[in-house]
């Protein structure tokens, strides 16, 4: 079995100019590895929404992608304010995004639901005042 490909990025909080650069790198790497295009697309949405969440809500954090033979795992870890009520945050339309984020076309309350919808496995763990961890897994051959 080939060694997994790992990519790790430190995402800067509130910097919309570079937001998405890391996700684009992840997407391009998947394409380069010849991963099927619907998986690349789902991965791009997951990574990008997760990255935008770090930018908007968490004052930055770590975005990681691990590509192994049969699956891709995208995860984030931040030391942001945390999510007091995850069920609420998972509801389409619910948002706490800033006006700046909304002006950029985000903050529609679709981020986490979009990530879940595109994931085969989805885990989120958050402690207010400590931070949030998210792991999304996509299998290559379903």
């Amino acid at each position: 079995m080939a060694a997994p490909v790992c990519m790790e990025y430190r995402i800067e909080g509130n910097n919309f100019m570079v937001a998405g650069t890391a996700s684009n790198n992840i997407k391009n790497t998947l394409k380069m590895l010849g991963i099927q295009s619907d998986v690349c697309r789902r991965a791009a949405v997951i990574a990008y929404e997760a990255e935008i969440n770090l930018v908007i809500h968490a004052n930055g954090g770590i975005l990681k992608a691990v590509i192994s033979e049969y699956k891709l795992e995208i995860s984030t870890e931040d030391e942001g304010p945390g999510i007091p009520n995850i069920d609420q945050a998972m509801t389409e339309g619910y948002t706490t995004a800033s006006n700046q984020a909304r002006e950029m076309g985000f903050g529609a309350g679709m981020g986490l639901p979009n990530i879940k919808r595109n994931s085969d496995l989805f885990e989120i763990e958050s402690t207010p005042g400590v931070g949030t961890k998210l792991i999304s897994t996509v299998f290559f051959n379903k």
Binding site: F16, M17, A19, G20, S23, N24, K27, S37, R41, A44, V45, Y48, E49, I52, E103, M104, G105, F106, A108, G109, M110, G111, P113, N114, R117, N118
Partner: protein, 122 residues
Amino acid sequence: MNLKELAELINAEVITSDRDLSEITVPFAYACDLMSDVLAFCSPGSLLLTGLTNIQIVRTAQMLDLPAVVFVRGKIPLEETVNLAKESGIPVLLSKYSLYEVCGRLYAAGVKPSYVPQPREA
């Protein structure tokens, strides 16, 4: 329809493209100012029509491999938006028409709506 014909149809100014627009086919279009909705509902190959002009619009198009972006209502994109579009080879079109009128013209000319997918089965 190809992008060259489409640009004529909406009287669009084409910026940021060194590609032959007649070689880019646009079967579908999706009109929206919410990028998360674009990420959720826009089908592959769709043209994106929007009134927002910030850099994240092009980033979204790049993520989804969208063929081109149309900025409506005569909005002028920010410099960083144009730069990223150039860098990523995504043609940007500027139309003075409203979003509704651009949609109407394209729809009447046979450009199909982007298929809105149902939520994936758990």
